[in-house]
């Protein structure tokens, strides 16, 4: 496009902001630092935390357990990160996990249903659940917290209906492999979450989906005026969150070889939200950090495991966890940061 040149720009002016944004890993610094701090604590005070050994071509140890148990939240956090980036939240993921587990357990026990169909059906149901959330939020503009609360509450009931109120156990080796198997020495769920991270990365960063998600989350009006279909973008992220919850639900059911509608994924939505926030994505929407969310999930699992290993009673365990949430949320408050910065300046002046 030819336009008469305006005045020549001075584009080479140095600026202290410039470097900070060009390094992709800069967003990972804080979550990784938090995780490192926690690991350092365990290295010094918790005996046997770093002990890893190989048995039957498979790695065993506390660290491996952290990865293994953390994988459910890691999966959820991927979907949650995208939802939160649009300025929303998905409270239903725990319940969707229960539904996916229930579908899988019911179908695997039916004769004649091939294994791929079991997985496909269970994921399809989870995706449909995400689509329902997406329809409410993106289509009917229901507030995300309310829209997903509906399925959070109703979802466990639906799972109960599917299992007829029973805990359904199964023994199928292929289904139990999802949560308990290992590949290349690593637990399968860990590899599954890494694969989903790669998939989500390609899905958002190799296409313009990531740009649209961030622009809608940062300024929905301006995005709409620029031709971005905000409703479709929101629908998409809730569908993806549903898929992630479905996979996490398969892992959870497979872990314990049964579908327990009351307890599968209970309160995990909160861990997933926390993981996303710890990972550097702001709850107000905008920029999202998938790798950060994964590190955040590991941070939370390490915290849980640490308390378990240090014999903190399960009844008290939520308290330190809540304190960690509080610290992270306060650090995200621009007001507090400005005040702290002002304090700091005053002292150094």
């Amino acid at each position: 496009m030819k336009v008469a040149p305006a005045t020549v720009a001075t584009t080479s002016r140095p600026d202290r902001f410039e470097k900070r944004q060009t390094r992709w890993w800069s967003s990972l610094v804080w979550p990784v630092a938090g995780l490192a701090l926690l690991l350092l604590f365990n290295l010094i005070f918790t005996q046997g935390f770093f002990h890893v050994e190989v048995r039957e071509g498979r790695l065993y140890g506390v660290l491996i357990d952290v990865l293994n148990h953390g994988s459910k939240v890691m999966l959820l956090a991927l979907g949650m990160a995208l939802v939160i980036a649009t300025g929303g939240v998905d409270l239903s993921v725990g319940a969707v996990m229960a539904i996916a587990g229930a579908v899988a357990a019911q179908l695997i026990n039916k004769a004649g249903v091939p294994f791929p169909a079991v997985v496909a059906a269970s994921l399809a149901v989870a995706i449909a659940a995400g689509g329902w959330n997406g329809l409410l939020v993106g289509g009917f503009k229901v507030q995300p917290i309310v829209a997903t609360l509906i399925l959070m509450v109703a979802g466990r009931g639906i799972a109960q209906l599917i299992t007829d109120g029973q805990i359904i156990t199964f023994t199928d080796a292929r289904l139990t492999y999802i949560g308990n198997g290992s590949l290349l020495g690593l637990p399968f769920p860990v590899l599954l979450s890494l694969a989903m991270l790669a998939l989500a990365g390609v899905f958002t960063r190799r296409t313009a989906v990531g740009l649209f998600i961030e622009s809608v989350g940062d300024n929905q009006t301006a995005s709409t005026y620029s031709g971005v279909h905000a409703g479709a973008v929101k629908f998409l992220v809730y569908v993806f969150s549903g898929l992630c919850a479905g996979l996490a639900g398969l892992v959870a059911a497979s872990n314990i070889k049964c579908a327990d509608s009351n307890h599968a994924g209970l309160f995990l939505e909160l861990d997933a939200i926390l993981a996303v926030v710890v990972g550097g994505t702001s709850l107000t929407g905008g920029r999202f950090y998938l790798a950060g969310a994964m590190v955040g999930a590991l941070f939370i699992q390490t915290l849980t495991t640490t308390m378990y290993m240090r014999n903190v009673s399960a009844d008290v365990a939520p308290v330190p966890k809540a304190l960690a949430i509080l610290a992270v949320c306060l650090l995200q408050s621009p007001l507090l940061r400005a005040k702290l910065a002002a304090q700091f300046r005053r002292r150094t002046a």
């Binding site: 005045t7 313009a208 622009s215 300024n219 301006a222 005026y225 620029s226």
Partner: protein
């Protein structure tokens, strides 16, 4: 300073600054008992700051405020209310799900031993409503009544506090003509009761219908205080805009040719409108033509732009694009047809603040391509760099976050966003507001060069100078309707102002 014997409220030398802005400088403002006093001014004149200082939202930096001869220092809206200064806002700030009586008595409920006296409350609410000539079932929720009744309820609530001064901020913008007339009947009655009433409105007709005196502010300073009956409309408009009719510079027709050469129309509006937003209007924009939309704040300029760009749906008439009827249900459809729109509120509706310059520039083009056909990173960077150079966007680089740029440079980023899509029609809503002189000149120069390349441009500006200098045709709006169209040699600041005032020569 002389004192006015009838004065209820006397403000003298009021100062208020915000970081970087002097919002009010030495403003005098006097309201008498039993008068309706219109407070007028364009955007940034200081009307809302004055009201917020008066009602205790902001503390004042200097000057005196006297009510009934005694100096007052309201430190909160509640304190101001207790002194007798009540404000009714454009958006009724009552609680829709509470009853009328609860709303009127909210915060001042008649109680005995801590228990609300419901009967006493209903009677008090009925008494307050009687003063505005309204008889309502006071136990029904507020939301079951029309906006007009809610507005009256807000006034009744103000009266219940035994207000001496009633401040009405844009009270009629959500009312229809009949409702506005009812509201005015109530205001006349209250004026008769000796109340002082301050009216902030953009509707000139209403100012002349109801007000006794007018105070005009501009750029935080007092322009003057006038008797409504002796101030011609054109005079009022010129005071608000800041141009004396007699001192008008000779029309400058800059580099743009004014020949009324017939241009091939790109967009034609026929009877195009939306009730409550903008009255049906005809308008055509030719290829290679800059058409200006002039009018005071609230005259319907932005509403027209929103309608054309598909943000609001037109309910009457049709739009033709190169002779073919089109109806956009969303900006996306307008963008696909080759339209672009830089909104008036750059910060809230324009920029994506925490994304980079590059992402902001490519957003509309990428949205038109869809999510899958992604522009290659290299292509994105080239586009961003190209426009940074072309428009002289002062930024350390394409990856800088837009929020860190100055207003003028943010505006250029928005222009770049649309230029990247190579639009056929570009709608610019106040493209030069709040940006420095240099950037202003660059943007106006760009508009001319885009026109020379055959782009159609709809140009909205409060700066009459810009409109006169840069437009081939000017559509004049008043009170949400088109009231005139000027072209060629007719386009002068004086003519525009006279048309706005409804007194063409």
């Amino acid at each position: 300073m002389q004192t006015d014997q009838r004065a209820l409220l006397e403000i003298r030398g009021l100062d208020k600054s915000f970081p970087g802005v002097k919002a009010l400088q030495g403003v005098d403002f006097t309201v008498r008992r039993g008068e309706v006093h219109a407070l007028m001014g364009e955007n940034g004149a200081g009307k809302s700051t004055l009201i917020k200082v008066l009602t205790g939202v902001y503390p004042r930096d200097g000057g005196t405020v006297k009510l009934d001869g005694a100096e007052i220092f309201p430190h909160s809206p509640k304190a101001a209310e207790a002194l007798g200064l009540s404000t009714v806002y454009q958006e009724v700030n009552l609680i829709p799900h509470l009853s009328i009586a609860e709303n009127i008595c909210l915060g001042r409920e008649p109680t005995r031993l801590g228990m609300i006296q419901w009967g006493a409350m209903a009677r008090r609410a009925e008494a307050a409503l009687a003063r505005v000539d309204l008889k309502l079932e006071v136990t029904l929720p507020l939301s079951s009544y029309s906006i007009a009744v809610q507005q009256m309820t807000a006034i009744a609530r103000a009266l219940d506090v035994s207000a001496k001064l009633l401040i009405l901020d844009e009270p009629t913008s959500s009312l229809d003509e009949k409702e506005a007339a009812e509201l005015f009947a109530v205001l006349r009655k209250l004026r008769g009761d000796g109340l002082g009433i301050v009216l902030v409105t953009h509707f000139l007709d209403q100012v002349y219908a109801i007000s006794d005196r007018i105070t005009v502010l501009r750029d935080g300073q007092l322009v003057g205080e006038y008797e409504t009956a002796t101030l011609p409309r054109a005079e009022l408009v010129s005071r608000m805009i800041g141009k004396a009719l007699s001192q008008m510079p000779p029309p400058q027709h800059g580099g743009s040719e004014r020949k009324a050469q017939p241009r091939e129309p790109l967009v034609e509006l026929r009877n195009f409108g939306r009730p409550g937003s903008i009255a049906p209007m005809d308008l055509s924009i030719g290829k290679g033509e800059v058409v200006g939309l002039a009018g005071l704040l609230g005259s319907g300029r932005t509403e027209t732009a929103r309608l054309i760009f598909g943000i609001d749906k037109a309910q009457t008439g049709e739009m033709l694009l190169e002779g073919k009827p089109v109806a956009f249900r969303s900006p996306r459809q307008a963008i696909r047809a080759g339209f672009g729109f830089t909104p008036e509120n750059r910060k809230t509706d324009g920029i994506i603040p925490h994304l980079s310059v590059r992402e902001n520039v490519i957003l509309a083009l990428q949205a038109r391509h869809g999510a899958i056909k992604t522009l290659a990173r290299k292509q994105q960077e080239d586009l961003a760099d190209q426009f940074i150079k072309l428009l002289g966007i002062r930024t350390p680089g394409a990856e800088q976050l837009v929020v860190n740029l100055s207003g003028g440079n943010q505006q250029k980023v928005l222009l770049a966003r649309w230029l990247a899509t190579q639009p056929r029609l570009l709608i610019l809503d106040e493209p030069t507001r709040g940006i420095d002189v240099g950037a202003k000149a660059e943007i106006l120069k760009l508009v001319q060069s885009l026109r020379e390349q055959g782009m159609a441009i709809l140009f909205i500006s409060s700066e009459l100078e810009e409109v006169v200098r840069d437009c081939q045709r000017v559509i004049v709006l008043r009170d949400r309707a088109k009231v005139g169209e000027l072209s060629g040699e007719q386009i002068t600041e004086e003519n525009i102002m006279r048309t706005i005032a409804g007194q063409p020569q």
